[in-house]
């Protein structure tokens, strides 16, 4: 068994810095997260679990919007978080932990996307069943049309688009995740939006 593996107290139990992160300033949150990452890297599984709980939704959202269906997104999210665990010793903290996770997730989505074209599933975005059925149908059709149109974007365009529109990352954060310049981010976003506008008008049909 490797030296240094240990199971410390759960980071979401007892008195730890992570407990106060909900009401803490962004800097304090970053510090608390940095400590969690440090402990997880040293083999503290409870610290890693806390990180997984904190980031699983953002990773899942990104994967679902990149891949277009829930089943693939669940697989990609699991793989991303598991790969993060295995790669933790190589994480140097130069980028934010979330930025690093986004990179792993996008790589995984690209690998899966090479095997199959993204799809736009209808069942992933079911509306509130209490709403008027006609409104629900319109909502489902609207969401499906957008999902079809997004699936038609190139990987590069879709990555930038999803990070901006869904995850609301800044241009600089997108540049960090994708490893490209600010100008390239703006250009990809602009082209993605224009392409999307054309696709939406065309009813989301594949080119």
């Amino acid at each position: 068994m490797p030296e240094g593996w240990r199971e410390g107290p759960r980071a979401d139990e007892g008195t730890t810095e992570a407990d106060s992160s909900a009401s803490a300033t962004p800097t304090a949150q970053a510090r608390a997260e940095s400590e969690l990452v440090e402990r997880a890297t040293a083999g503290d599984l409870h610290a890693f679990e806390t990180l997984v709980r904190a980031h699983q939704d953002q990773v899942f959202r990104l994967c679902l919007r990149m891949l277009g269906n829930r089943s693939d997104a669940e697989d990609a999210t699991q793989d991303t978080l598991f790969r993060a665990w295995r790669s933790l010793p190589r994480y140097r903290g130069e980028a934010a932990f979330s930025t690093w996770l986004y990179r792993i997730a996008l790589n995984r989505c690209r690998d899966m996307g090479r095997a199959r074209r993204p799809t736009a599933a209808f069942g992933d975005d079911l509306p509130d069943p209490d709403r008027d059925p006609e409104q629900c149908l319109l909502q489902v059709e609207g969401v499906a049309a957008i999902a079809r149109a997004v699936a038609c974007l190139s990987d590069d365009q879709r990555s930038a688009f999803v990070l901006r529109e869904v995850d609301e990352l800044s241009y600089q954060e997108i540049a960090d995740v994708l490893g490209i310049g600010l100008g390239a981010v703006k250009s990809r976003l602009s082209r993605a939006r224009a392409e999307l506008a054309c696709q939406i008008r065309a009813g989301g049909r594949r080119r």
Binding site: M1, W5, R6, E7, G43, L45, F48, E49, V52, R53, Q56, D57, V59, F60, R61, L64, E74, T77, Q78, L81, F82, W85, R86, D125, Q139, G142, V143, A145, I146, A147, V150, E165, V166, L189, S190, R191, R193, A194, L196, A197, C198, I200, R201
Partner: protein, 184 residues
């Protein structure tokens, strides 16, 4: 009106830039021109309407399924091989078992129950021990088609797993969740 995104408007404005402006929710970055330009205003109105469903799509509340954390952590623990439970501790030393040993006790005990056809999942049984030494087990099996009452079969599996763990380790088994996920 349906603006061509690749062609500049009659007034000279770039429709792609107007779409960026709409998507970003920005205010008139090009200054006075579009404030006074009917063409720009018409295109902005069209693009705003066009973009509305995109905004709805982008802001949907999407969350990872509740089981995902447990599944990930199970993989992590199995790889790490670090999880262990203390069975006894005294002045002369401590006795611990790795979690995988508990799995190796629980798994065969479940599979040996008459009526159980085999493991139904690639995932091994899960044994979680809390701070007070109480174990909770999750096990997934397939049953023979003629196994009869599946509720009783599950009860026999539950008892066999609890007995095996308690006898081998002295742990108090608080519960055994049994899933019969296939009939063969």
């Amino acid at each position: 009106m349906s603006v061509d995104m690749a062609t500049r408007l009659e007034c000279g404005a770039d429709p792609a830039a107007l779409l960026d402006q709409v998507a970003e929710g920005a205010n008139h970055p090009e200054g006075a021109h579009q404030l006074d330009c009917g063409i720009c205003q018409a295109v902005i109105a069209e693009l705003t309407e066009l973009w509305e469903p995109v905004r709805g799509w982008a802001t949907q509340d999407l969350r990872a399924p509740a089981w995902l954390v447990d599944t990930v952590m199970r993989r992590v623990r199995r790889t790490a091989g670090t999880s262990r439970e203390t069975l006894a501790e005294g002045p002369k030393g401590r006795t611990s078992v790795a979690d995988r040993v508990l799995v190796l006790i629980a798994g065969p005990a479940a599979l040996d129950v008459p009526g159980v056809a085999g493991s139904a999942s690639r995932e091994p049984p899960e044994v979680v021990v809390d701070e007070r030494g109480r174990a909770r087990v999750r096990v997934e099996v397939s049953a023979h088609a003629g196994a009869g009452d599946l509720v009783r079969l599950a009860e026999r599996v539950r008892q066999a797993v609890a007995d095996a763990l308690e006898e081998s380790t002295g742990l108090c088994v608080e519960g055994v969740d049994v899933t019969i996920s296939d009939l063969t």
